[in-house]
């Protein structure tokens, strides 16, 4: 018998751990995928995944079905990602000349990406292309990056992203446009 999310949530609220596990398994691929795209390394992604579901577990007892479970879950996922401090940034050498704060517009524009061990020729030849793209996406401000990951990689609609980030669709569009503009600045030597 197929149980709905609502059935599983009610059972979890009654203390059924198996129901919670089933609920996790329904969505955890998507959560891990977002975390991997956002964090760019396995350890951070696993930390994010764990933090998301621990928060879900804690919050589920007060869940009142006022929104879809999935919307609530992905809102938690985006919140956890946006507030997460990476364990390690060793794979990325980014020098940031600006405050890492709320200023979404100016943040990325003043960064300088440097790739230790890669000459400009190596970069343009594409030998480190994957790394360069990842570093460029990673250099976006948290909200720009999250919006871009959800839209471009995960294929969510702008309306859905707005629900997850708890903001207006216009704001999501703005993050998205800024993200594209910053990525173009970073990557134009590679693809132009």
């Amino acid at each position: 018998m197929h149980l709905t999310d609502t059935d599983l949530i009610i059972q979890t609220q009654k203390g059924d751990q198996n129901a919670f596990e089933e609920l996790v398994y329904r969505y955890d691929r998507n959560v891990l995928s977002i975390a991997m795209r956002y964090a760019f390394n396995e350890d951070d992604a696993k930390d994010l995944y764990q933090e998301v579901f621990i928060r879900v577990y804690r919050g589920l007892k007060n869940f009142r079905f006022q929104s879809e479970f999935s919307t609530w879950l992905f809102r938690i996922t985006t919140n956890v990602c946006l507030t997460y401090k990476s364990r390690s940034k060793e794979h990325l050498r980014v020098s940031i000349n600006n405050n890492y704060g709320d200023d979404e517009n100016e943040f990325a524009a003043q960064e300088e990406l440097t790739y230790k061990g890669s000459s400009p020729e190596e970069i343009s030849s594409g030998s480190d292309l994957g790394e360069i793209v990842n570093a460029a996406v990673e250099s976006l401000s948290p909200k720009q990056r999250m919006t871009f990951v959800l839209k471009h990689y995960e294929g969510y609609k702008i309306r859905e992203i707005a629900e997850m980030l708890n903001c207006k669709e216009g704001t999501v569009k703005k993050y998205l446009f800024d993200a594209i503009r910053n990525l173009r600045k970073k990557l134009s030597p590679v693809y132009a």
């Binding site: 891990l32 793209v133 990525l183």
Partner: protein, 318 residues
């Protein structure tokens, strides 16, 4: 519509977010605007470049490891909740029994007297004072209390007094059978969270009983988490040895494969490899994916024994 607005429509178009009438407007504009056509091409190229890895799926091994870690964390979460929850439940249950009202009233009265005596005594609340020639109130706490995190509020002794805060914790002694759920809960928690590697090691060794190995899935999940995440190789080794005593199944196999592919300590990789081979000799055959892994190991592992064993396994299966 202004030119800049068309540029925004371009981006939304590439993300499949335009309504049909907007799409039509944009199409008409593109016919006459060279700049926007160039812009469209430029953005397509950018997104193609970024889409290099777009279609890759979530790595099953990462997902499995994440699920194991989550189980461990949830177990700790539940264990913590149970410790406080059961106490609160017991209190609540006690207070809701009608016959207990008289006892509760008497207790409340005594409690009130106790609070009153504390409030009106020389020391009150959590503030403890020692005075020359007077009783040593700290010593009256208990000799078994551990002191930690001492922080000075006033370290200037020029006026003859100092003030500080500290944390005091009392050890709890618990004795019981290893398969007692409470004992298991504490040991599993310690296995995953205890700072001291020796304590984690002892917790794992304490679990090494026939009963647990056969029946407790939660202990197995915790051991898998330890094998995958513990920073101490000795602790990982003990957990791996214990897992190899569990009945062989897919999760046990995945744990061995995880160690063989990911662990940096060659001794542990060898231990996992031997366990896998032993399971194979008992009728648990390896599949094509496992054999591919050994092909990879044969080429990439820096340990000669692992290379040799991988080669032998591949020969046996050919």
């Amino acid at each position: 519509m202004k030119h800049n607005e068309y540029k925004q429509l371009l981006q939304l178009s590439l993300f499949g977010e335009l309504k049909s009438e907007e799409q039509l407007k944009l199409k008409e504009h593109l016919l006459t605007c060279e700049e926007c056509r160039t812009e469209l091409e430029d953005q397509k190229n950018l997104l193609e470049l970024i889409s290099g890895k777009k279609k890759s799926e979530v790595d099953e091994k990462v997902l499995t490891a994440a699920r194991y870690q989550l189980r461990g964390a949830l177990r700790s979460e539940i264990a913590n909740k149970n410790i406080f929850g059961s106490t609160i439940d017991s209190i609540a249950q006690f207070f809701t029994t009608p016959l207990k009202f008289a006892v509760v009233s008497a207790t409340m009265l005594l409690f009130g007297i106790l609070i009153g005596s504390l409030l009106f005594s020389k020391s009150s609340g959590e503030e403890l004072k020692t005075e020359n020639g007077n009783e040593n109130r700290f010593a009256s706490l208990n000799e078994n209390i551990n002191i930690s995190n001492l922080r000075f509020i006033d370290s200037d002794a020029s006026d003859g007094e100092v003030e500080f805060t500290f944390q005091a914790s009392r050890p709890v002694r618990l004795r019981g059978k290893v398969n007692d759920p409470q004992i298991q809960s504490v040991l599993t928690y310690a296995m995953l969270n205890e700072q001291n590697p020796g304590s984690r090691l002892n917790s794992i060794n304490a679990m090494d009983t026939e009963v647990l190995m056969k029946y407790d899935q939660d202990v197995k999940n915790a051991l898998v988490t330890v094998v995958m995440t513990d920073k101490n190789p000795g602790v990982r080794r003990e957990a791996l040895k214990l897992i190899s005593k569990f009945p062989y199944d897919e999760s046990v196999k995945q744990t061995f494969l995880y160690v063989i592919t990911k662990d940096t300590v060659s001794g542990l990789r060898i231990e996992a490899l031997n366990s896998l081979i032993e399971a194979g000799s008992q009728g648990n055959k390896l599949n094509q994916d496992d054999l591919n892994l050994f092909r990879q190991k044969l080429q990439q592992d820096d340990n000669p024994y692992i290379k040799l064993r991988s080669k032998t396994i591949l020969q046996e299966y050919n």
